[in-house]
Subunit: 304 residues, 2 copies
DNA sequence: TTTGGTACATTAAGTTTCTTAACTGGTCAA
DNA sequence: TTGACCAGTTAAGAAACTTAATGTACCAAA
């Protein structure tokens, strides 16, 4: 009693399966949905189970959803039934595509994903430096324990990397790179420290920095964007659809500390008049507001 | 015989574990590395196994790597041993960070990842329309079976979405959005079709389009980038480190069809003189070459 | 100092999952 | 028609896993 599986069984009413079995059935259903077919061999190889076990799994799935699966004797594989309805997974396009991206980013090996018939695909390459996991770990530990940590950081301003104490309290992804949001005990302000520029870490120590004083991190700002007015009315409508705008406006809320990056990422850092509208579909509607807020951040010199 | 697990056992020599057991031991080691600790309860809850089983797993891991793990009676959890060395996983910073991104992208629920002590973190938000999995599936099926498919596409040029036949042969991610690389039977050229702008699909049919004729997709181009010369020498050195440049140059090869996107993504689509060097760290060294190639693509009007 | 709570440990009996081993059947291509 | 391939099956036994009950160490609150 008090066992989580027991609870699940109680609440759902369906016969509870063991974790491994459930993964295999989900795998099978995933393949059925996205690829329309699978072989018993797929299960045997992916999970390292025996033939009889794979057969048993397939039967089990057949019992759960008789219409979802059919064996095609001439093609020699199991195929999606005509009125297939997933019962274990909720197919998610973004999730499927994220798996492809993980492959192209080198984060996952094709064999680790459930995708078998990878479509021909490619992604715009992004140069990226590898990060030593132990270095990232030091930062994470400092965040978790709330300590200051001494890091050797290569800043843009000093030719040689320097050792300094920082108190990291969060990680941030600017769309390109990861950085640690931290209080710099050298410059006495909160800044972003790019993880790959942290060349080494030494000891940690307690401190009395309160992350809630990192205003640029805690406070948010709302970008109001609209279609580029230099586009034709038709094009503007399409852009509105693309971005899910309402009445020609999309509001995007983000941390003040991300304002600079978001602007850059959306191409809003360049005067629209300098670019062809077909190259820059959206414009910033409240640039005055954003400018002011961004200025207030820059006064804290947020770019390390 | 011919069984993959058998083979693994033969080749590695170590006692082969079942898939589920191995996942749990990896989970445990993952937690030890990245978070320094775990509770037996974590295993019980994540995998839905019983207390004795979780204890057995922990002991099994202890047998495999006695120095990696220690129980802290007063803190009431298992902690990383002093000379911890992972034996089942190879810690990968990018992989860890990719999990965080998946969470913030909504692709994975926090409970689905192995990260328990999520550090405070955030990412620059990107507006994105959700894609109906069935629509993506139709495209994938057309790619796999090599068929033409009739799609209702919202182009930038026509106010109303139109039905047209396309022959998709690959998916592409431009750093922002996914599109299908396809031959358009209406315009008689290969183009990019943004997946979210495909509003519906109808039937499929055979065709005689050869993807190898999609030159902009098949051919590649090499970007040569260097540090922005308007930066100070020190800054230029840092940028070289950031991008892993050799002798001040980084070569990035990409498909011709991605040339436009890559340029935009790297901020190389705007004249560097219009921007402060601190806002644009890199410049394109072979823009003449790129311009010419890009022009040749545009003649095929690659922007749908 | 006792009391209670929590988290881990362990044992025993029994169930489910899974393996090995040996065998059958259908389809297709050489 | 033979072989290759992929599926299916059965039976015996091993491994993994469960429930149930009980014990122990540590800490914090009464």
């Amino acid at each position: 009693m008090g066992d989580i599986r027991q609870n699940q069984q109680d609440s759902s009413g369906s016969p509870e399966l063991r974790w491994g079995v459930e993964r295999r059935l989900e795998f099978l259903e995933f393949r059925l949905f996205w690829e329309g077919r699978f072989n018993r061999k797929d299960i045997v190889e992916f999970f390292g189970v025996s033939n009889p076990q794979a057969s048993a799994d397939i039967h089990r799935y057949q019992d759960l959803a008789p219409n979802n699966i059919r064996y095609d004797g001439s093609q020699k594989f199991f195929v999606r039934g005509d009125d297939f309805k997933p019962i274990l997974i909720t197919p998610d396009a973004n999730r499927y595509l994220a798996q492809l991206r993980s492959i192209s980013d080198g984060v996952l090996a094709p064999r680790e994903t459930w995708v078998a018939k990878t479509p021909a695909f490619d992604a715009v390459p992004l140069p990226r430096r590898t990060v030593d996991p132990k270095r990232l770990l030091s930062i994470l530990e400092a965040i978790h324990t709330g300590s200051a940590i001494q890091v050797q950081y290569q800043s843009m301003t000093r030719p040689e990397p320097t050792w300094r104490w920082i108190t990291p309290h969060a990680l941030g992804f600017d769309g390109f790179r990861w950085h640690a949001r931290a209080y710099c005990h050298l410059d006495k302000i909160f800044k972003d420290f790019l993880i790959p520029r942290i060349l080494g870490t030494r000891k940690t120590k307690p401190h009395d920095i309160d992350a809630s004083n990192d205003h640029a991190w805690q406070q948010t700002i709302t970008f109001k964007i609209g279609p580029n007015p230099n586009l034709t009315p038709t094009q503007q409508t399409v852009v509105e659809l693309d971005y899910g705008m309402k009445n020609g406006v999309l509001e995007i809320e983000t941390r003040l500390a991300f304002s600079y990056y978001l602007r850059k990422r959306l191409g809003l850092d360049v005067d629209p008049s300098l670019r062809d509208a077909s190259d820059q579909h959206i414009v910033l509607l409240n640039s005055d507001e954003i400018d002011v807020s961004q200025q207030s951040v820059l006064e804290g010199d947020s770019n390390a």
